[in-house]
Symmetry: C2
Subunit: 433 residues, 2 copies
């Protein structure tokens, strides 16, 4: 039986999960693929924590660079995370012509273009199924399964923490802050939750998907991002009463040669498939010009789900090495010329607008007058009495499609009205099926 010799850098939660998965299913993988995955070296600064795993003598060490250079290592699996040490490890491996498997979305979303160029220069490869959508084989679906399609639209729920928080807010009727605290206690959210709840992690993943979909490089800085801190329990209830769910949605679209790349709390129809993706799960909804709408669903993060994706990449690397067909499928080829990104001002969307207005006659006339002035057409209005002091009430407006520049100008004018209290809340509406 042939073997693939794996050097693992990063022996934390996911790293230990990978070792455990190989100990459990290595033989099965060998019988399916013809190649037995063997972890020959592990590097981590922490040599002493008990991961509940037994390893052969001499496998675990602290010198990642020595691991990379070792003749006992054919493929380097980088599960360190972050963009500093991880970057130097990945670069060192690629320069030695060794393929790299990584789950590091921050690294690819920041330095992807240089890293793939480096890989090409040295005849090596980077595999990254685990970087987006956890265990869901969505990278493979986009790169290979849908290779015959021009991808027109991608809508995706890519952050399990945010989806968990929004799901629990709705099911338990709890405020954002309370659910966040509970999620932190339960280990579903980090002590510093900004990467998740501010949409940064989703933006990293969205930029990787967009690069794949359009064959040109996008970084996280190209993504218009809003997080979920502004989503209140009231919004979730209002959305529900109108037949919508609120999800943190990555949107990747092409329109007339321009590209929309955004991450926003968005209202999507309660009856849509994406609307039913709850808890820590992720889903990627993809529309191709030939296949039509497809969707890929599963656990978006965690020790085991991530291992599943890393294992698939390891097998691909092993088959390419054994078959002498490295770089069998070109990575990120530029295949289309697009005329750049749509700026935040140019986006076209339907909107959910929540205002707190004085409980007086004539309010709707004022607001609708301003919206009308900016060519924004109202689809529905609901005035609620549940929140606020007695002198003011919430007004919920759903618009028809409008330009986002028009909307922001209208919003500025609305905010200046004395009858409008506090900051208006604005979310996108995406009418998915």
């Amino acid at each position: 039986m042939q073997q693939i010799k794996i050097g693992l850098i990063g022996f934390g939660t996911v790293g230990a999960g990978l070792v455990e998965s190989i100990q459990k299913n290595g033989e099965l993988i060998a019988r399916r693929s013809g190649v037995l995955p063997v972890i020959t070296k592990i590097a981590d600064l922490d040599l002493h924590s008990d991961r509940g795993l037994s390893l052969p003598e001499g496998v675990l060490g602290s010198d990642a660079m020595a691991l990379i250079a070792s003749p006992e290592v054919e493929v380097v699996v980088e599960l360190v995370g972050g963009t500093t040490a991880a970057r130097s490890f990945v670069e060192a491996a690629l320069k030695l012509g060794k393929p790299v498997v990584t789950a590091n979305k921050a690294l690819l979303a920041t330095h992807g273009e240089e890293l793939f160029a480096l890989a090409k220069e040295h005849g090596s490869e980077i595999y990254f199924e685990a970087s987006v959508g956890g265990g869901i084989p969505c990278i493979k679906a986009l790169r290979e399964g849908l290779i015959g399609n021009r991808i027109q639209e991608v809508y995706a729920i890519l952050n399990g923490t945010c989806n968990y928080i929004l799901s629990v807010m709705e099911s338990h009727n709890h405020d954002f802050e309370l659910v966040l605290k509970e999620a932190q206690k339960a280990g579903y959210a980090e002590a510093d939750p900004g990467m998740d709840v501010d949409g940064i992690d989703t933006a990293h993943k969205a930029s990787i998907l967009a690069s794949l979909v359009f064959g040109q490089w996008f970084t996280a800085a190209d993504v218009e991002v809003d997080g979920i801190r502004q989503v209140t329990l009231h919004d979730i209830h209002y959305a529900a009463s109108l037949g919508y769910k609120i999800k943190l949605l990555a949107v990747i679209k092409e329109r007339a040669g321009r590209i929309q790349l955004s991450v926003n709390p968005s209202l999507i129809p309660e009856r849509s498939l994406l609307g039913h993706v709850s808890g820590v799960n992720n889903a990627v909804w993809v529309k191709g010009d030939i296949v039509g709408s497809t969707m890929y669903y599963g656990r978006g993060a965690g020790r085991q789900a991530t291992s599943s994706a890393v294992l698939a990449d390891i097998v691909d690397v092993a088959l390419n090495l054994r078959g002498n067909c490295s770089n069998r499928l070109p990575a990120f080829p530029l295949f289309e010329q697009y005329q750049g990104l749509l700026s935040k001002e140019e986006l076209l969307s339907r909107y959910y607008l929540r205002l707190q207005v004085l409980d007086q006659p004539g309010m709707l006339a004022i607001i609708s007058g301003i919206l009308g002035k900016y060519q924004i057409s109202i689809a529905s209005v609901t005035q609620k009495e549940e929140i606020g002091d007695q002198a003011s009430v919430p007004m919920i407006i759903l618009t028809h499609q409008a330009k986002s520049l028009d909307m922001s100008q209208a919003l500025a004018e609305i905010s200046r009205e004395k009858c409008v209290l506090g900051k208006p809340v604005l979310f996108h509406i995406e009418d998915l099926t």
Copy 2:
């Protein structure tokens, strides 16, 4: 630019869709994969129908065997369907060492084992993404994306016609026969609908998925099959009132080394993701021991969706040919010893039971007494007044998990009771999330 020379056998709806897709997206595929797909030969008995496509002189002919033998053909795409002519074409190509791409589930479900053995003997390959789930890249997901997982359960909606009929029965409140007639008029169902509505097509696809999942060959004859003719509008309404949808569900499970392989009209929770798969769409829900639950969704049939899957296979073939790595991933390796199939009598399931009983006191005592005698525990009972003459009423019973042998014996005894009119209706309940 390198080319892959394609010989297409079968220039019907799907064949024409493939040619159209290549004319549309061939350049895009070439830029992504490095290989341009070119249809060099097409064989069909009908040389004259207008497919709305312009072809170079000399491409279309009627001699499939000549096409297979032509040096202008590197890969044979079989879109003829059926198990007679198609089989001889596939065999001829494999014997010449030419890879075959096919959408033919009936052929694989009947002769798969011999055909893959023949491919192995001649160093060739068979690709079959389009045979299950239409445009959904579910074969690739199972074979490659989830290769690190022991697959524990697969629940799948695999026949677009059945799912369309059940969806329209519900949404339009129409009987099976009426919806079937309308579907036939609209082209969603064949004039002879048996392959679809009797579950045979689903059984073909289920046997292919089971073979992949367990690495040993199953044929359609191994699948316990019930179709949807027995599903009435009443059942759909009763199920809905209890929080369930009725779907024609392929179930593939392993339990203690034995395998369940069945196709049944089944009640699944309305709130489950599969419960929201409506119309002609398909979905495959897969539980792996590492990844957990994943789902793959999309259009299950049709000219375009099928083309998308065939194109993905053509690119895989092309990359393997160009990279000299044919048979890069072994097809259907036997990787586990199972102790055979669970017979229909051995299945364990929850059940939906609809009886028509006399509208008299004591009916429930009689029925529940018989069920209790066979260790079948009742989860809920509903007695309805909507259908039947005034002398009888429907009784709907949901059971807890029961052995199917116990259930069939109880049912035989129930049927013999004079107070029970007509034939009892029995569906499985699958409590998916």
